[in-house]
């Protein structure tokens, strides 16, 4: 043991200074990768332990939301369904939307709920909101199972486009992370920001094409509509899941993806800039 750590001595030397170097940070992030999984594991464990209905809740929430949206938009408002059963149209959009909404809510509170960690131990703070986002993938997978069940029920078979889903999931992750990092950092600085997040989420459900297809938006407004990065993500999911003759509005999709990437970069940058003062202000 003794020899073990003396050999380590030569390998690890760090310098702590005001405005510490970027390189060191990313190396630390790699060194603490296990903590990242542990925190995600904790969040998942606690979520399913704490609520008696646990997994049932994860099933019920998307199902009920889907039911309401189908009735309101599909049955009453008679929105076009692009030749697929309306529940599948809704559910294909709810997969990324719910993931985004839950991640955003979770990530924005994550730093505050982990105050004791931040003020008592060091690790790259990026781990906290990121692990929260990743832990939401479990709910995402449960929703995925519901989608499969729906597809079996409606005897609806996916096309080869389905294999592009992992890439789209990754994009949804970037969108959730970008916004989540940014808002979580803002939440530490301005504590009343937490009142804004539920509003963004609620508002977003209606301005994003969750309950309806984005094809109902007039052609000339489509590009403007795609300024909402979730529009591109949702359209991508629909394109992959619904297959057949679902078309994607390419310029809008590309614009959305560019915005997601910009949001992601900005989120990390903002987070990194404010991170150094977290322990002092939290």
């Amino acid at each position: 043991m003794h020899s073990n750590f003396t050999s380590n001595l030569q390998t690890k030397e760090i310098t702590i200074e005001a405005g510490r170097t970027e390189k060191q940070y990313w190396r630390d992030l790699w060194d603490y990768r296990e903590l990242f999984f542990f925190l995600a594991w904790r969040d998942i464990l606690v979520r399913y332990k704490q609520t008696v209905i646990g997994i049932l809740w994860a099933l019920l929430r998307p199902l009920l939301t889907m039911l309401v949206l189908t009735i309101v938009f599909g049955k009453w408002a008679k929105m076009p369904s692009e030749g697929v059963p309306y529940p599948i149209l809704v559910f294909a959009a709810m997969l990324p939307w719910q993931f985004f909404a839950n991640s955003l809510t979770g990530a924005s509170n994550s730093l505050i709920t982990n105050t004791n960690l931040i003020s008592k131990v060091y690790f790259p703070r990026l781990i906290i909101p990121t692990s929260t986002v990743v832990s939401n993938l479990v709910d995402f997978l449960i929703s995925m199972a519901i989608l499969f069940a729906l597809m079996v029920w409606y005897d609806f078979w996916p096309t080869w486009r389905f294999i592009s889903l992992p890439v789209l999931i990754l994009i949804a992750n970037f969108a959730a992370l970008g916004a989540g990092l940014w808002i979580s950092a803002l939440n530490v600085k301005y504590r009343d920001f937490r009142y804004i997040v539920p509003f963004i989420v609620q508002f977003g459900l209606y301005v994003s094409p969750v309950g309806f297809s984005s094809s109902v938006v007039p052609e000339k407004w489509r590009l403007l509509y795609s300024l909402n990065p979730m529009v591109g993500v949702i359209d991508g999911f629909r394109w992959a899941i619904m297959g057949k003759d679902t078309l994607i509005f390419a310029p809008g999709f590309i614009l959305s993806i560019i915005l997601v990437i910009l949001l992601f970069i900005y989120g990390i940058k903002y987070f990194r800039n404010t991170e150094r003062t977290f322990a002092d202000v939290i």
Partner: protein
């Protein structure tokens, strides 16, 4: 030749203190409204220059700190509350960033500023060992390897799969410390965490600490317990107002610290009483502490060997809590703890059933016990089942003297130098 493992150059940490607002964080609402007001002023009177509101004040928690630590050193860090001890550990452990200067570190650092950081009440003991281990910087494989050892040290075998919210506070603290005790960093930073748990467990922790020290690990240890510093550390740093005021052998540093405290307390020394400014953020707070004798009603700091000193402590209880209790202890100038007493020694603490309000405690110290000399009294209002520090603690807040010009013993110079106390022991032939 020993290796320099930590090198600290011109280290400083500045905090901005916001006046008026007590919170450290801001509300967006306030920022927006303030900006709106400024904007409105500009619109109404565009030519007048805005007077800058001076609401922020700089405060240097640490300034110009330089020192070196060699590999294998066990260094005590001592100083009064607010001297910068915790800030120093937070900087070395990278929890917060320095404002000036630099620290160079060779090796893995683990900080133990609190026991049970990140414990989740819903998770089982087993799950918490892994979680807490990872938070403290252990690898999964490392935790697995030491798992049995940790469980044995904590003595919680039977409750491994019970959520820790069902643990007794003793078990909780034992488990938390056990995880921390099995860290194998090259550098260990410890902040007063040993002051939790029962006495037997504290002994076990101190034992583990000295074991760590003998393994050649480098330890920085913050404590108010001069006895522990004296036992564990070869060297010590004394911090005062954010600067190093003494650096040397542990024994010398302790004496320096206590002498320095004494000079700080010149004022109180004459009166034997100290008052505190009210701080509403504390759920229970000491307002005034003083010493009286049973013969007069005035505060004083000089007592005869035969006197019975009475400690009067006024406090404000703002939130009732059945877990609160009060503690005082007395140390001599060498840091020996003469005795330690809590208000629940003899019966349940009176604080357990008090409604909020202002009260005064009286603790009667023994007569015929202290040998002539100088003593320091520490008082603490604290809470059972705690994992962090006490709520309101004041180290060596009162200094008092015991004199003896009258008794037979004094005339004969009957106080042995090496003895710590001088109780009156009747001798009789039977």
């Amino acid at each position: 030749m020993p290796d320099t493992i930590i090198q600290v150059d011109n280290l400083g940490k500045k905090y901005l203190i916001q006046h008026q607002t007590r919170e450290r964080y801001q509300a967006l609402r306030d920022v927006l409204s303030k900006n709106a007001v400024t904007f409105a002023k500009h619109v109404i009177r565009p030519l007048t220059r805005e007077q800058k509101e001076d609401r922020q004040e700089e405060f240097w928690a640490l300034k110009g700190v330089n020192f070196e630590v060699q590999q294998g050193d066990v260094i005590g860090v001592i100083g009064r509350n607010g001297a910068g001890k915790s800030t120093l550990l937070k900087l070395i452990s990278r929890i917060t960033e320095p404002s000036t200067g630099r620290i160079r570190i060779k090796g893995r650092v683990a900080s133990l500023l609190e026991v049970g950081t990140g414990f989740h009440p819903e998770l089982s003991g087993r799950e918490n060992i892994f979680l807490n281990g990872a938070i403290l910087g252990m690898r999964k494989a490392e935790i697995k390897r030491k798992f049995d050892e940790i469980v044995a040290f904590a003595e919680v075998e039977k409750f491994l799969d019970t959520p820790v919210k069902r643990y007794s506070s003793g078990m909780y603290v034992r488990l938390a410390f056990a995880v921390a005790a099995h860290l194998e960093p090259e550098i260990l930073l410890v902040d007063e965490v040993l002051a939790v748990g029962d006495e037997a467990f504290q002994k076990k922790c101190l034992g583990k600490m000295s074991e760590v020290a003998h393994e050649g690990r480098t330890v920085l240890y913050v404590s108010h317990n001069m006895g522990a510093i004296n036992n564990l550390c070869q060297k010590a740093i004394v911090l005062g107002k954010g600067q190093i005021i003494h650096h040397g052998k542990a024994g010398d540093a302790i004496r320096f610290y206590l002498r320095n405290l004494n000079e700080h307390h010149m004022e109180e020394e004459q009166t034997g009483v100290v008052s505190f400014r009210e701080d509403n953020t504390k759920p229970i707070q000491l307002l005034k502490i003083g010493l009286k004798s049973n013969s007069s009603d005035e505060f004083r700091s000089v007592f005869e060997y035969q006197d019975t000193p009475l400690v009067h402590m006024s406090f404000d209880l703002r939130e009732s809590n059945p877990d609160y209790y009060a503690v005082i202890f007395i140390q001599d100038i060498y840091g020996h703890m003469i005795f330690f007493t809590a208000d629940d020694d003899l019966k349940a603490s009176s604080l357990t059933k008090l409604d909020p309000g202002k009260y005064c405690y009286q603790a009667q110290l023994p007569s015929h016990l202290f040998k002539p000399g100088q003593y320091y009294l520490t008082v603490s209002l604290t809470k059972k089942h705690k994992t962090a520090g006490p709520i309101d603690r004041h180290d060596s807040i009162l200094t008092f003297h015991i004199t003896d010009n009258k008794s037979n013993r004094s005339v004969k110079n009957g106080y042995r130098k090496i003895a710590i106390v001088a109780p009156e022991i009747p001798w009789e032939l039977i």
